[in-house]
Symmetry: C2
Amino acid sequence: MTRPPPYDRGVDKDNRPVPFAVDDFRRRMDRAATEAASKGFSGVLVTPGPDLVYLTGYAPTAVTERLTILVLAPGRPPTMVVPKLERPDAEKATGASAVTLVDWLDGADPYASTAPLLSADGRYAISDAAWAMHLLGLQRTLPGTTYVSLTDGMPMLRAVKDPHELDRLTSAGAGADAAFEEILGVRFAGRREIEVAADLAALLRKHGHSQVDFTVVGSGPNGANPHHEAGDRMIQQGDAVVLDFGGLRDGYGSDTTRTVSVGDPGAEVREVHEIVRRAQQAAFEDVQPGVECQEIDRVARRVITEAGYGDYFIHRVGHGIGLTTHEPPYMVEGETQRLVPGMCFSIEPGVYLPGRFGVRIEDIVTVTPDGARRLNNSTHEMQVVA
Amino acid sequence: MTRPPPYDRGVDKDNRPVPFAVDDFRRRMDRAATEAASKGFSGVLVTPGPDLVYLTGYAPTAVTERLTILVLAPGRPPTMVVPKLERPDAEKATGASAVTLVDWLDGADPYASTAPLLSADGRYAISDAAWAMHLLGLQRTLPGTTYVSLTDGMPMLRAVKDPHELDRLTSAGAGADAAFEEILGVRFAGRREIEVAADLAALLRKHGHSQVDFTVVGSGPNGANPHHEAGDRMIQQGDAVVLDFGGLRDGYGSDTTRTVSVGDPGAEVREVHEIVRRAQQAAFEDVQPGVECQEIDRVARRVITEAGYGDYFIHRVGHGIGLTTHEPPYMVEGETQRLVPGMCFSIEPGVYLPGRFGVRIEDIVTVTPDGARRLNNSTHEMQVVA
């Protein structure tokens, strides 16, 4: 279950990630175009963000109202429409030599520059986070075209990680685990949540993260708000404290949660923690290629519901992770996508008792041919801090 | 021309900004609904980002695939659809008490939760940066609805600043000016662009900025790429160096550019700088209520074109600024929007000679009843640095 994945290594002899090369990007773009065709799409439209980074290595300095869009269509060379003044930046991207650039000048209509690359009655998959403004511009310019979001139309585009990506996610997970180990040694009682959050952020950076995206410290009743970040509340003896933190290491995400107790947790917290631990473990053990995503959610939910806490588990059990912290596949009721080796996602059941406390346990896992492998490996036993 | 604006003050006696109150948000939401109706819209749909901050004070911890959307329709109470697990955060926003919240649970269809708030054949203005995924979800759920981006349909929504906003922009501009004054004293020759950029970032923070968004240091040939940020190039004696920097102070943006010379600039740089200075001044003097935005671009462009450099001025002359660095109104050919007192935007002509050097001068200005007032006031004379 915990054997290393059967992949080539994406790191060099010093364990540093090998940069992605133009061939990686060319292969990804080819695959995207082929997959689009197999799903009946005329092509894929990609705007700045993780999809564009994945396919070309290009990230504009800022995502603005100026249209940048990569058009991938089967049998046609990849072409990217860019603002003229950003062309020099685009040309520097690793994948740029595999892409034809078309630029447009301020004051011109960028949708008119894009239209010749599209079929007038085409059906396209478009980046989830493409600006509505740009989608409306395309719909206006080519009223015969239709669109589906990439997550709805081609959710698997980035879902199966290649060996280089998997190594990065593994090292991000290990960095987050190391941060957790060290946070157990800091003082909790009598300090504010934001102080512990600052410690966590510093530890993520110490352990290789270039970017810290979130450091949730939800103490006592604040732990019952699953998206509480960290506030001014003074942490008290006896508090359960939800620690949910992550960021980017070598461009790939980490995201892990542990719930610790400041001193003795007491019977109820202990009981809820054990239920959540069992739910996490049951979902983990259920992971196999071919299993539907919603099944992972159901398995965890069943454990919590049977223990009587079903009404207090108010979110899906997991989300994919890669270049972004939240991406397909989603482990949620209604998601019939089947698991495939190389997928990486969180398993993070929780119980939230309003006004009292919350408990969540979260690991990133990857699907292997014979089950799940954890990318977070710190203990699931409830840790007691001072 | 430089008299203070005829507004109430948005700062307290210690010159600190007065926080926006629920009545500010209620007034803005009322105005948005009324303006939508007057333009034939059934309402306004606002997703997380600057529009939502402007209208409610609410900024979710992260903008994700989970739908959050504010629906403003004339004669109906403002209503915001939020993910259940983010509801506690939404409730804490200053404007929340003026908004009805509707939540949806993971696994449910958020567009189904939104549909009852919309007319089945309605025409809506929607946030520019709303995710395409969400727009497609609304179009799929209510196929009779039509949409226009806020910038296309209601570009004036945030364009005219109120007194509190104007004070914030004024203080952001003053902070950027103070950073510029101090950067003149640092060493340029023999240091890398990124080192000077780091100095600039530190100076913006020293002068009140909570966030640094960009610190362009374009030395010598790098200055000819208008969106070059800062790189490893060693700055050399005789370089022209474009410094374009800004960020957020009390939530509002700064954005200013000056081009300095490392030692004597030489005749050509001096000549180009003088042309750009005259273009900036001409555009500034052309600002009056009622003038079309495109006219501001034309006036600056004419000066540069008549001097023989028209082909080297490859971007619009300006953009609005407020909660974001780029927003309507845009000073660009084709923009017939007329100027209104309280609008704030950049005037930033430039000349870019590929492989050689670039020159740009940029001030934020605000429209007053009798012309423009600069929010950046550092000298336009070319400064020589060491």
